[in-house]
């Protein structure tokens, strides 16, 4: 019960002070809108192309939303030393970090549904397999958030967090099959694509939205779970090593 109070307090505080701030809320709406608009224009206004764009826009919205927010907020709290306050709380370290990342995960999931809501006005979403789509969204949000945490621990300045995030984000956009199928990548780049978590998330989302996927859903989701666990464990190890000197 005591841990639950602490976890809830951290989550509410982060939602209030970071994620529900008007600039972040509007960013969460404008970003997917811009991506959807860009590809819609590229496809010469073909409404039918929206279904093929939707999984990529959903994935990229989650990736940018979570990594940007978490990398910046954790780096900011580390720099201002308010993160020490959390480290001093009588809470298991793993739970503490789950509470700290909880806000970003929710923010990522919320970002994912902005393009879905926009698409609902233009196309029929009746064919989406929600039982795959929702777990895929949640797992992509988890993996992206833990990637953001890994980045936040690796840098000391807020601006470094943004720069370092882009080092991962932009290659992932083009390598993970968000907008260009992994099969069309040069054979040298294919192994790299399968070493990135978003490839499995995008595959599951493409499968859930329009039935086109390379791997079985179970494999996609299982690999994402492994990536989440690995990135979370790596981030905790890094925090213990670098922040608790």
């Amino acid at each position: 019960m005591k841990w639950a109070i602490a976890i809830w307090a951290i989550l509410c505080k982060d939602m209030r002070t970071y994620y529900l701030k008007p600039p972040n809320v509007s960013w969460g709406i404008i970003f997917p809108l811009a991506w959807t608009g860009m590809f819609f224009i590229k496809s010469a206004g073909e409404v039918g192309s929206i279904a093929s764009l939707l999984p990529g826009v959903v994935a990229v919205s989650i990736l940018f939303g979570t990594t940007s927010m978490l990398a910046v907020t954790v780096t900011f709290e580390k720099k201002s030393r308010s993160f020490e306050r959390l480290l001093l709380a009588p809470l298991p370290f793993e739970l503490l970090m789950l509470a700290k990342t909880g806000g970003a995960i929710l923010f990522g999931v919320a970002n994912a549904f902005v393009p879905v809501i926009m698409a609902a006005f233009l196309i029929d979403l009746g064919g989406i397999v929600w039982s795959i789509f929702i777990p895929a969204v949640v797992l992509v949000a988890l993996a992206s958030t833990f990637l953001g945490l890994f980045i936040a621990v690796a840098v000391s300045e807020v601006f470094e967090a943004q720069t370092f995030s882009n080092f991962f984000r932009f290659p992932m956009m083009f390598l993970c099959g968000l907008f260009f199928p992994v099969e069309q990548l040069p054979s040298l780049l294919k192994p790299l694509a399968y070493a990135l978590p978003l490839t499995y998330g995008a595959d599951a989302l493409h499968g859930a939205v329009r039935g086109a996927h390379n791997l079985p859903f179970a494999v996609d989701l299982a690999v994402l779970v492994l990536f989440c666990a690995g990135l979370f464990a790596l981030s905790l190890w890094n925090i213990r090593r670098n922040w608790i000197l």
Binding site: I5, A9, E84, L87
Partner: protein
């Protein structure tokens, strides 16, 4: 090694290196329950590193730490519920109000909503911050920030409070108010471990004091015992213009006295017996040095510190400025 439950904090052979630099070397001390223990030393002496190791924010390279009987080297987070920490910088959340900050800090210790709100109101009142309760922490003055940070450190009613440089960087009035609050914590039975580089502050507040220099404790005793060797000293402070070589000139003329300068406008005279002021003033005036004031001063912990560590008080004062002393 087992813990002696008679102590709130027990430290043996504590050591910590940062690369080539030995920040803390073989530190031993024990703090009794309810005691106000001062950890005194210049910047870079190892005070904050020691506090970080005691509170679980740093890992010792060697030694043992027992907090309330719990082995904090083996279980770094096991004693967190017993301690409160006030860091050397106010690190609350600028976007939250004073009241919200206190409630959040209480929630981290699992305190329910009604109870944490009640405690937050009580502390805001006790720390004279009720009028600013709903203002964002980021808008507070330095003194208000320090007071709220101390309130945040005790909202979960810890048995042991770590105060790192509580009055550094704040104005004299706020520092005085803080010292009264710290004295009140001891009266409430909280064990206080306080680091400071303000010697008068430690002398006024602490039961026992450890001097730490270059990562080593060079002296540890009660304030009364520390002052004992200098109690019989006779000290005189002369306000006059000084110059390099003046103490040596004076020492040659008055071999029973010892001289040192404090800045460019103070001369300090020490002796084992009473000091005759007249001959000293005449000597200075014959050399065209105008004396504006000469007064006897009481030996303080500063004298003990200088005697024990060999570190000049002036150099220690210069390290951090911005108030605190009054």
């Amino acid at each position: 090694m087992s813990a002696d439950m008679a102590f709130a904090i027990e430290v043996r052979g504590l050591a910590k290196r940062f690369g080539e630099v030995a920040a803390v070397r073989q530190v031993d001390f024990a703090v009794r329950p309810g005691e106000l223990f001062g950890f005194l030393g210049p910047n870079g002496a190892g005070k904050t590193t020691t506090i970080n190791m005691l509170t679980g924010l740093a890992r010792p390279d060697a030694g043992s730490i027992f907090i309330g009987g719990i082995d904090c080297v083996k279980q770094p987070r096991a004693a967190q519920h017993l301690i409160g920490v006030v860091p050397d910088e106010s690190n609350l959340y600028p976007e939250l109000s004073g009241f919200e900050n206190l409630c959040f800090c209480a929630a981290l210790y699992g305190i329910g909503k009604e109870e944490r709100q009640r405690r937050a109101r009580e502390l805001l009142d006790a720390f004279d911050l009720t009028a600013a309760a709903n203002r964002k922490f980021g808008t507070y003055s330095k003194g208000m920030k320090r007071r709220l940070t101390i309130a945040a450190g005790i909202i979960h009613r810890p048995q042991i409070l770590f105060l790192d440089e509580p009055t550094t960087g704040i104005d004299v009035a706020s520092a005085r108010q803080l010292r009264m609050l710290i004295g009140g914590l001891r009266r409430d039975g909280i064990t206080v471990f306080m680091t400071t580089h303000y010697i008068e502050e430690a002398e006024r507040l602490c039961d026992r004091i450890a001097f730490i220099v270059d990562g080593r404790i060079v002296c540890l005793d009660s304030v009364e015992n520390l002052l004992q060797p200098v109690q019989n000293k006779h000290l005189l402070q002369i306000a006059c213009e000084t110059f390099p070589g003046l103490p040596q000139e004076l020492a040659a003329a008055f071999p029973d006295l010892s001289f040192s300068t404090e800045g460019n406008d103070r001369l300090r005279v020490e002796a084992d017996g009473p000091i005759r002021v007249g001959p000293l003033v005449r000597f200075l005036e014959e050399r065209q040095i105008e004396v504006s004031e000469a007064r006897r001063i009481r030996p303080t912990l500063e004298d003990v510190f200088v005697q024990v560590t060999g570190i000049g008080i002036n150099s220690m004062r210069k390290e951090k400025t911005g108030g605190g002393r009054s």
